[in-house]
Symmetry: C2
Subunit: 256 residues, 2 copies
């Protein structure tokens, strides 16, 4: 497999970095090709704006997604975006490695998504989304650390259910793009962990990655489950209780 790991942590000696290093080493040992985008080290610009295109279709007022569509057709993204698009389209597996900040990815990684998951290639262009998305045939996984304990992210936990917190990333970013979503790897409450626990996490992550090719993606509805009104067809909805809980249920337990 070609694996792209997008890494977003400001500190080179962080535990996130140790997880990244573990992934690079382990996946390499398995014979996979690994490419890393270390966003802080690259000084990646996360702010989507008018200078993201070498030419503009609508120069008077910026319509970002429409400019993306044109740039997808004409190859007119600026180099820092095009390079990341090339990496993304070349991968079979995408891993985002980050500390969970405010229930989501750090801004530098959100900006990588805003600028690189472009209209025309990743979605749009005549209905590319979900199982028809531009990244279909590829898989993706979140790997992150938290400041909280696993019980806090159960459905009755203080912060809310893990897959509800991650819905905007797993169903939104990944699912919408056509990526099949593998259950996340979570390093819980890292600031309260000792050396032995951190070593155990690194071991668990390596073990997980050794079998990653055989991992089953989380359940997801294909577009054909939805009617022309964009709602789940009645016969599908009747077997999907609550908030698609059938889809979320298999993976609500912590990894460790």
């Amino acid at each position: 497999m070609n694996v792209l790991i997008v890494h977003a942590h400001p500190e080179p000696r962080s535990f996130n970095r140790a997880l990244l290093d573990t992934a690079v080493r382990t996946l390499g040992e398995q014979g996979h090709q690994v490419v890393v985008s270390d966003l802080y080290a690259m000084g990646f610009n996360p702010v989507a704006g008018p200078d993201d295109f070498s030419e503009r279709r609508f120069p008077d007022a910026l319509q970002y997604d429409r400019e993306q569509k044109q740039a997808s057709q004409r190859g007119s993204f600026v180099p820092d975006i095009q390079q990341e698009i090339d990496k993304l389209l070349a991968c079979d597996l995408l891993i985002l490695q980050f500390p969970l900040w405010w229930f989501s990815v750090p801004a530098i990684l959100k900006g990588w998504i805003d600028r690189v998951f472009v209209n025309g290639l990743v979605y749009g262009a005549g209905g590319k989304r979900f199982d028809q998305g531009g990244l279909r045939g590829r898989r993706a996984m979140l790997s992150f650390t938290t400041g909280c304990f696993p019980a806090m992210m159960d459905s009755d936990g203080l912060l809310g259910e893990r897959d509800v917190i991650l819905w905007h990333l797993q169903h939104g970013v990944f699912g919408y793009s056509g990526l099949q979503v593998l259950p996340p790897f979570v390093g819980w409450a890292i600031q309260y962990s000792d050396e032995a626990q951190r070593a155990a996490y690194l071991d668990a992550y390596a073990q997980r990655l050794r079998g990653i090719e055989g991992d089953s993606p989380m359940p997801a509805h294909p577009l054909s489950d939805f009617g022309p009104d964009w709602r789940l067809r009645p016969e599908v909805a009747s077997r999907t209780a609550g908030h698609r809980r059938a889809a979320a249920a298999p993976t609500t337990r912590p990894d460790l």
Copy 2:
């Protein structure tokens, strides 16, 4: 009221800008004091990093939240952060105005949250969170535009339920900080709307804002609903079916 509006759109002629202008004018007419942080116009830096502090407690390796805690005690944030903290602490109502990009805020706004919602003042420091959060007594609202239609964000819709998509912002960022969350104002499928529809949205937003002081916040569990295991106490959980659906239900319908 003192109102802080944080605005994140790269185009000064955008519909988001028209919503911002409507809010500034309407709230001003009601006698409120309005402060705007226009992040793109300010060139706001969204990338949290080691240069965010004028002195470091742990200079060897960056532990961002621990440095925030110290900076909260010593007033040692760099000026661009301190200015935003001052605006945040001075407000009675916080409005985030943005286009929904990839099921969340644009990166420049995520970075405003990462850098300004600091450990020590907004949360932490002996258990500040949720109804004990550092921003308790204040209210907050999302105001955003989408590329999708309302049915797509119902519980059986293509994208998933609106308040599940927004969970990381409304329950996560706002709720965790102690902010009471007002139902969002949503401009649906703006790229498909005509002038009349846009004018109707601006009128509806103005009308909403004229009555904003009387708006009821969305239901939220106080910390006392959770036991020492960070789970909802059994007697509370039994009346909160599914994923806190009781809390989400009153606001799942579109605004217009």
